[in-house]
């Protein structure tokens, strides 16, 4: 091989390395751009009022999003309370109890549910809950969101239950434990961080969802008490305020966006930390 060709190949190597690196760098910098922009536009509007006041009538400056923050929190709590137990127990079934064919079907269905566009979930929740109840409600919104948490929880639960080494299972059985005892007292505790991670990832996924809420929890200018009334939520408020012409609303939309994004990032980072902590502990043994 000629020396020139050799140099050419080396050159290509460096150039392509750099290009690929540029791609990676571009992808990563998007996050920093988003974060930076939100901080720039939104940080100024974050004040005590934002967290404690109700929205003011349009045209009047001031007001806040206290009801939206609490509303989002309620929706997420409800979604988690319904979705995580269902997802978790289903995950247990898939990993520990099922045979061959039925679990395969369940897995496929869970994947299907995961792929349903969030607006279609909204249609479903509207027909299932809002129409019979004849009202928009936090319940309907929470239910819609729980449908989105379920597949995520199923997948992470099954994944981490399977990751528990068989030696633990066999040891428990060898000591005379029945199957359910083995699962409940040995396998599940060994993978409890999985539930937590799955929960956090599920929560992170649904807390920012807007589409399913548009026709379930709707919106509310006041505090929403109980579970059967429409409620404000951060994502819906951001949407409503962003497409309106009022400068003050834009300001608040940026602030709400910043709060929402920080919450998302915090959840994801925490989930990541829990996972890596468990990994480190396990390998340290």
């Amino acid at each position: 091989m000629s020396r020139a060709f050799h140099l050419y190949r080396k050159g290509v190597n460096v150039v392509m390395f750099s290009l690929a690196g540029l791609c990676a760098f571009t992808t990563v910098s998007v996050l920093f751009y988003i974060l930076g922009f939100l901080v720039w536009k939104g940080a100024g509007a974050i004040n005590w009022d934002f967290f404690t006041q109700l929205p003011k009538p349009v045209g009047e400056a001031g007001g806040g999003m206290a009801n939206a923050i609490v509303g989002s929190f309620k929706l997420v709590v409800l979604a988690t309370a319904i979705g995580v137990p269902v997802g978790f127990v289903t995950g247990v079934y898939l990993a520990e109890f099922g045979g061959r064919r039925y679990p395969a079907l369940i897995r496929y269905i869970a994947d299907l549910l995961n792929g349903v566009p969030s607006i279609v979930i909204g249609i479903f929740a509207y027909a299932l809950v809002v129409v019979p109840m004849r009202r928009f409600s936090t319940l309907a919104g929470g239910l819609a969101l729980s449908l989105m948490i379920i597949p995520v929880t199923i997948r992470t639960t099954e994944q981490f239950l399977r990751a528990v080494p068989d030696s633990l299972r066999e040891a428990a059985l060898a000591l005379g434990a029945s199957k359910w005892r083995m699962v409940a007292t040995v396998v599940i505790p060994a993978s409890l961080h999985a539930v937590l991670t799955g929960t956090l990832l599920g929560v992170a996924r649904v807390a920012g969802e807007t589409a399913p809420l548009l026709f379930t929890s709707f919106n509310n200018r006041f505090w929403s008490t109980g579970w059967d009334q429409p409620t404000a939520s951060l994502p819906v408020m951001i949407f409503t305020y962003a497409i309106a012409p009022y400068e003050d609303w834009h300001r608040q939309a940026w602030a709400a966006g910043l709060v929402l994004l920080m919450a998302m990032l915090a959840l994801n980072v925490t989930a990541h930390r829990i996972l890596s902590m468990k990994m480190a502990r396990r390998s340290g043994r």
Partner: protein, 313 residues
């Protein structure tokens, strides 16, 4: 009774209970999903009976005269998603190659983590940013530039609003980028080390090993990531409806406004006064659901094929 007792004799009743309970929960998931499909099917009955398969080909969307057709929305959904893929796939695969093959492990791990954080950003925040940064930039800089240099192409002709198919495609591209990166990266990492080492052993440069050996080997996995990203893009609602222009039209120009299935449902669902209108919207939802099922199925087939390939011979 006899068979039941025989069957129970070898089993611990508590175990049977546990099995039954978990089975019940699993079946709930099945039931709810079935209910969802059923609900979609039933609510769209009026529209399906009225229009049948011509629904997919008709361009009318006229609530006044109760004539509905899905073509403009299918067009908008597919065009924005495909365009987004064309923009995101090269960057995403390039980034994945960098992270999996070329970068030192610590940098790779940190950057991968950041990319995964990007996937957590809610759609409405992308929309918020798009309205105030992307759209003005398109309207004032990018679109005039494209029209000046390439205006002879029909895709760059017409008035420049900023909002439109191009804006929606670009924001979608940014949104699906993290998915392509992380799944492709995993597909690349799953390639057996022997392949990489063999290439390096015969004298390939790092890039040549990555591009000519590892990437083709992970080809199916990468293609799978692309289809998954496509499925995501098809269903995106908020960011798209904020920048697509919300006009049910089909035109050759990327600068024109359009409409996607998810966007029209979000805008018109709470106010569809006619029953036929509502039914047509649900039918659109069914169409979208069908599209995403197909994309997801293709993706899973490809990803499954990769894992089979990667297992030891």
């Amino acid at each position: 009774m006899q068979t039941l007792r025989l069957w129970l004799r070898n089993r611990n009743p508590a175990d049977v209970m546990a099995h039954a309970v978990t089975l019940l929960f699993a079946s709930t998931v099945l039931l709810v999903t079935a209910l969802l499909v059923y609900e979609l099917y039933v609510s769209s009955a009026a529209s399906r009976q009225e229009f049948g398969w011509t629904f997919l080909l008709s361009r009318d969307w006229d609530p006044v005269q109760d004539k509905f057709g899905a073509l403009p929305f299918i067009y908008g959904t597919v065009v924005t998603s495909v365009l987004a893929l064309l923009m995101a796939a090269p960057v995403g695969v390039g980034a994945a190659i960098f992270l999996a093959e070329l970068a030192p492990p610590k940098i790779s791990d940190t950057l991968t983590f950041v990319v995964e954080l990007l996937a957590a950003v809610p759609s409405v925040i992308y929309g918020l940013l798009a309205i105030f940064t992307l759209v003005p930039w398109l309207r004032e800089t990018v679109q005039p530039f494209l029209q000046e240099r390439f205006g002879y192409l029909p895709v760059f002709q017409g008035p420049m609003y900023g909002v439109g198919i191009l804006a929606a495609s670009m924001i979608l591209a940014i949104m699906i980028l993290p998915f392509i990166v992380s799944i492709s990266r995993e597909a690349l990492l799953a390639v057996p080390a022997e392949q990489r080492e063999a290439a390096l052993a015969v004298g390939a440069t790092r890039w040549e090993a990555a591009w000519q050996v590892v990437t083709p080997y992970a080809g199916l996995g990468i293609a799978g990531s692309v289809f998954l990203a496509l499925a995501r893009a098809l269903g995106e609602t908020m960011a798209v409806t904020m920048v697509i222009g919300n006009a049910p039209k089909i035109s050759a120009s990327l600068f024109e406004s359009g409409y996607s299935i998810a966007a029209v449902i979000a805008n018109e669902f709470t106010e569809a006064t006619g029953d036929m209108h509502l039914s047509a919207l649900v039918q659109l939802g069914l169409v979208l659901f069908g599209l995403t099922i197909v994309m997801n199925a293709i993706a899973r087939l490809m990803l499954a094929a990769t894992s089979r390939k990667g297992s030891p011979q």
